[in-house]
């Protein structure tokens, strides 16, 4: 199922784009599995997604852990730990 991904901060810079629509295979059931799948693209993706301890995610604009199922979410955001305030 098509999913919109948005990237922020250095994840965005490494990946080289603000976001994209993806249509992963059915076996990609969690955020972590999606990251594995994206990582196989190599290049900036491999660089940005290698260290999962540095990544956080939001599914449909809600913070969630990386092992969260994608379910029927419309938008996934991948980014470093937030540094606002």
């Amino acid at each position: 199922m098509a999913l919109d991904i948005v990237y922020f901060a250095w994840v965005r810079e490494a990946v080289g784009r603000d976001g994209e629509r993806v249509d992963p295979p059915a076996r990609v059931a969690t955020i972590a599995a999606l990251l594995d799948w994206l990582e196989t693209r190599g290049g900036g993706y491999a660089e940005a997604l290698a260290d999962r301890s540095r990544l956080r995610a939001a599914l449909d604009q809600t913070f969630v852990p990386l092992d969260t199922p994608l379910g029927d979410a419309r938008e996934l955001a991948i980014f470093p730990p937030v540094t606002g305030g």
């Binding site: 965005r12 939001a58 938008e75 980014f79 540094t83 305030g85």
Partner: protein
């Protein structure tokens, strides 16, 4: 009365305090975060997740209103590029008594640091640019609120 604003424009803490003082409480607390010029820093750029920021900030304010008897709360977070001395963030709270105003203000800024989808990038006089790393003690500060 609560207000949440995410904006590129500057804001005026004095004007925000005036609005909170007008709510009839005996206590108004505030916190203002500013750009520090450490290590030759000349600019700070705040990136946000626009679809999420207003919702996240509103949720944080609602949580504060559940925890403390507030008459009002104001949260303003700037995004875009700022220079040394510019204001980044403002939190203001009004309550009948001081404990609620002070505690809610500290809670809100601690949570903004760890729960609001903003990322800071620093630019230095020598041309270096770097994304600010999250600080472990920010998580600790937020954790003390349970």
């Amino acid at each position: 009365m609560s207000a949440v604003r995410v904006q590129t424009e500057p804001f005026d803490p004095g004007a925000e305090l005036l609005a909170l003082e007008a709510l009839g409480g005996g206590a108004v607390a505030s916190f203002t975060g500013l750009v520090r010029g450490d290590d030759g820093l000349i600019e700070l750029t705040l990136e946000q997740y626009p679809a999420m920021t207003h919702r996240a900030l509103s949720a944080i304010v609602e949580e504060a209103e559940r925890r403390w008897p507030l008459l009002g709360a104001t949260v303003i977070h700037r995004c875009g590029t700022m220079r040394v001395g510019d204001r980044i963030v403002f939190v203001g709270t009004a309550a009948r008594h001081r404990a609620a105003a002070l505690d809610a203000c500290a809670f809100l800024i601690d949570w903004l640091k760890t729960k609001a989808p903003f990322w800071k990038r620093e630019a230095f006089a020598d041309g270096r640019r770097r994304w600010v790393e999250a600080r472990a003690d920010d998580d600790g500060a937020a954790a003390r609120w349970g």
